[in-house]
């Protein structure tokens, strides 16, 4: 039976922000629909409404012309609307089977049979009796999909499903989604990745600032046209000139980096050796959870490992803490902006003062020199085009992009010789990403070096001079980035070999 989902005049207003402004859309089964938009465009709000997590202030949802009352996730489930959230809704400490059985109506035995049928049908391979925390992101997503399939859904909503997947896993996902679509499931695919829209979807609705600005057939669209609709303005193209010169000095050299942990949530690192030349960007690719966190913490000095040698500007710094490393002109931009890089409850200038490098005279005789810090912060805000000049603002009120600009600014204003950043554009919108990419390229142009640990292959290919892949705590050989393709990276990131 064909499915017809219609949302009409949906509005949702949060204090100070209109998340959805009179949104009306229509979907029919047999097609894959894309919902495209930047962060904060209102996509997530819309899907939360469709899945019953939040209720709209105004507007109706119709499924096959039946007006749905979606006041809880249960209502969505009953009406056969399945949802795979961007942040998985799984119970990490429970086994896969327990996760699936929690809202099942049948007994365990027949449920197991049913799950095995689905696994077979779609060629998924997942051990049902291991705790979910042992699974890779791709496998976790499959568990979420199986959970939806168990209820034979009419509508399947995928919220930014590929943000945690490798190229190969993404391909597999697309194959599965096309299969579901052929079986008559209506698929709504939420993303801000333009290429995915073009390769997977039949129709695309673009959202901007809570409104639907365009609905069109994807065959009539190109990356550029979609990007312009999404951002609402023309974007400059960024391309880096790769510079690999053999005779430049090695500014940073890591030898015998080993890390062993008892914690099942951490990854062991096995004998990492690499070096960075002056003015070079070394990219480290990999799916999250393959040791990037640990590597970043060791490079920044948060974790000190024995028997490791780290040479920076001809000095051994392996035993130094982050503050001491900063004094040697290293700078760090961690992945988690909110909890690692900045303290959200503190004001902007207070956050700037947090990495108190010696030369800045922020502190005199144990007292805070507020005037100096504020002047300094103002300079960062204007130099790095953060969209506020109020240094008294609490950092939590900055958007992700502006917070990241502030953090990068704070790190870069000391003119460090080496910047180590981890997923600097994670979760940001196209405009902010562009700015940060430009900034990172500028650093290299000024003969300063960067280490870019990122899970975004496109970003790595754009910015790095050489690239290595980290998989289960081991580093692949380092390749010049003009010899690397997304496919090659994908194979290495999934644990394969390319020779």
């Amino acid at each position: 039976m064909a499915t017809d989902l219609r949302i009409s005049n949906i509005s949702k207003i949060y204090p100070g922000c209109i998340a959805n402004d009179n949104v009306s859309l229509q979907f029919k089964s047999g097609k894959i629909y894309a919902l495209l938009g930047e962060n904060g465009a209102g996509k997530s709000t819309l899907v939360k409404i469709l899945s019953g997590v939040i209720s709209p202030d105004n507007g109706e949802v119709y499924l096959n012309e039946k007006n749905l009352k979606l006041s809880s996730p249960l209502d969505a489930k009953k009406n056969k609307i399945g949802m795979v959230f961007q942040h998985f809704n799984l119970f990490e400490t429970l086994s896969v089977f327990e996760n699936l059985s929690i809202d099942a109506t049948e007994d365990n035995k027949s449920l197991r049979v049913k799950i095995n049928e689905i696994l077979k049908k779609y060629n998924f391979s997942i051990d049902l009796d291991v705790p979910v925390l042992n699974l890779s992101a791709g496998q976790k997503q499959k568990v979420e999909i199986i959970r939806c399939l168990l209820r034979s859904p009419k509508v399947l909503i995928m919220d930014e499903p590929t943000s945690v997947l490798t190229e190969q896993e993404t391909e597999e996902l697309f194959i599965s989604l096309k299969k579901f679509c052929d079986e008559g499931i209506l698929i709504i695919y939420i993303t801000h990745k333009l290429k995915e829209v073009l390769s997977l979807c039949d129709e695309v609705a673009v959202m901007r600032k809570g409104k639907v600005v365009s609905v069109s057939q994807t065959q009539n669209e190109k990356v550029e046209t979609l990007a312009n609709k999404m951002v609402g303005q023309k974007l400059a193209k960024i391309k880096k000139k790769i510079n690999i010169s053999k005779n430049k000095d090695e500014i940073f050299k890591v030898k015998h980096l080993n890390f062993y942990s008892d914690d099942p949530f951490e990854t062991n690192l096995v004998n990492l050796n690499f070096s960075v030349k002056k003015g070079e960007c070394l990219g480290i690719a990999g799916i999250s959870g393959n040791g990037q966190n640990e590597l970043f913490q060791i490079l920044s000095g948060e974790i000190i490992t024995p028997n490791t040698s780290i040479i920076f500007r001809n000095k051994e710094i392996a035993k130094l803490n982050p503050k001491q490393r900063r004094e040697y002109l290293m700078a760090f931009s961690p992945e988690d902006r909110i909890s690692q890089a900045a303290v959200p409850e503190l004001k902007i200038y207070e956050n700037v003062a947090l990495n108190n490098f010696k030369s800045s005279n922020f502190f005199e005789k144990g007292l805070v020199n507020e005037r100096k810090i504020k002047e300094h912060s103002k300079k960062i805000l204007s130099d790095f085009s953060v969209n506020t000049d109020n240094v008294e603002l609490k950092s939590q009120f900055l958007s992700g992009g502006n917070l990241q600009k502030l953090i990068l600014g704070r790190e870069l204003i000391t003119a460090p010789e080496l910047l180590i950043c981890y997923n600097p554009t994670w979760g940001l919108d196209v405009g902010a990403i562009n700015y940060i990419h430009e900034t990172l390229i500028k650093i290299n142009d000024q003969e300063k070096s960067t280490i870019l640990i990122s899970t975004d292959t496109e970003e790595l290919l754009k910015l790095s001079d050489r690239i290595a892949v980290i998989y289960k705590g081991k580093l692949s050989k380092i390749m010049p980035s003009d010899e690397v393709t997304p496919e090659k990276l994908g194979i290495l990131m999934g644990g394969g070999s390319i020779d």
């Binding site: 939040i54 119970f91 990490e92 400490t93 327990e98 949530f265």
Partner: protein, 310 residues
């Protein structure tokens, strides 16, 4: 020699009796914490259970009503905690501490008229077998029904958490309330139920003290047992069976050190008094070293306030 063996039997019997309130309170708190709620009010709920049980016994002269009433009083006082933390979203730690202080004060006030009243004999089961079988008699027989219940409870708790659907839901809520809510589970309701159950068990634990263990009302008679129960849950890494082991060790060494004091060992008394605490922690830390298991048993959302998106 036969005298010694029967003495050891009686000793083990008394150790079991002394660990009952810890087992009951800790098993209840374990369920509460597994759902992600940290209720530090165990001591307060226990002492309220102790006074209401004793008072009901004196007033109605009916032990059954006294026991049921003590559990209900635990439920009622935990309902205050539940309402504050789940409906008004107050901080778990502060609210739990307040509950303990409130419970101790309220029980002292209610109990003024009951000080010095002698308690009643609580019926014991299989008392004839206790006398006729040497050694095993005093261990296995001649206890109150509450003791048997307490020693079965950790196994029931373990079965409930591992094997039943409801247990699965409790664990899921403790692991990730947001995910559970998005799956259509009523997180607040589940947590309320777990809090009330924990309150009931703490009430029963208190009544065991005032009706069976030392049948009388003394102000502040729980004497920190609630805090021990709380610590047991954490050191036992939320495993019911380890809670049982910990409670027996604590009860055992508490009794043994009394005997050691009586015999007059040349060990400082202060050290002997500290011994049960020390040994319980050491043993539980040693038996729960597996960091993997700890991760899997620890309720990830413990003590965090959950509020539903609207």
């Amino acid at each position: 020699m036969s005298l010694d063996i029967s003495f050891i039997g009686i000793l083990i019997g008394s150790i079991m009796a002394s660990s009952v309130p810890l087992i009951l309170a800790a098993s209840g708190e374990l369920i509460t914490e597994r759902s992600g709620v940290l209720n530090l009010g165990v001591e307060g709920m226990m002492i309220i259970g102790a006074i209401s049980g004793f008072a009901l016994m004196v007033i109605t002269d009916n032990l059954f009503i006294a026991i049921i009433g003590s559990m209900l009083s635990g439920v009622v006082i935990s309902l205050i905690f539940g309402f504050l933390t789940q409906s008004l979203l107050t901080n778990h730690v502060a609210t739990g501490l307040a509950l303990t202080i409130f419970g101790i004060g309220l029980s002292a006030m209610l109990g003024k008229d009951f000080v010095g009243i002698p308690g009643k004999d609580f019926p014991i089961l299989f008392s004839s077998l206790r006398e006729s079988i040497p050694f095993f008699g005093p261990i296995l027989f001649g206890h109150s029904i509450i003791l048997y219940f307490a020693f079965v409870l950790p196994f029931l708790t373990s079965y409930f958490l591992k094997k039943t659907k409801l247990g699965l839901i409790v664990r899921a809520v403790g692991d990730s309330p947001v995910s559970a809510s998005n799956q259509g589970i009523n997180v607040v309701l589940v947590r309320y139920c777990c809090i009330l159950y924990g309150g009931g068990m703490c009430g029963l634990a208190g009544a065991y003290l005032s009706l069976i263990y030392t049948p009388q009302w003394i102000e502040n008679m729980t004497a920190g047992r609630g805090w021990i129960a709380l610590a047991l849950v954490v050191f036992a890494t939320w495993s019911p069976i380890k809670v049982l082991i910990g409670a027996i060790i604590f009860g055992g060494i508490s009794i043994l050190q009394l005997h050691m004091q009586a015999v007059g060992f040349r060990i400082p008394v202060q050290f002997l008094i500290a011994l049960p605490y020390l040994m319980t922690i050491i043993v539980l830390v040693v038996i729960s070293r597996d960091s993997r298991k700890i991760k899997l048993n620890t309720p990830t959302s413990l003590g965090r306030i959950f509020y539903k998106e609207k």
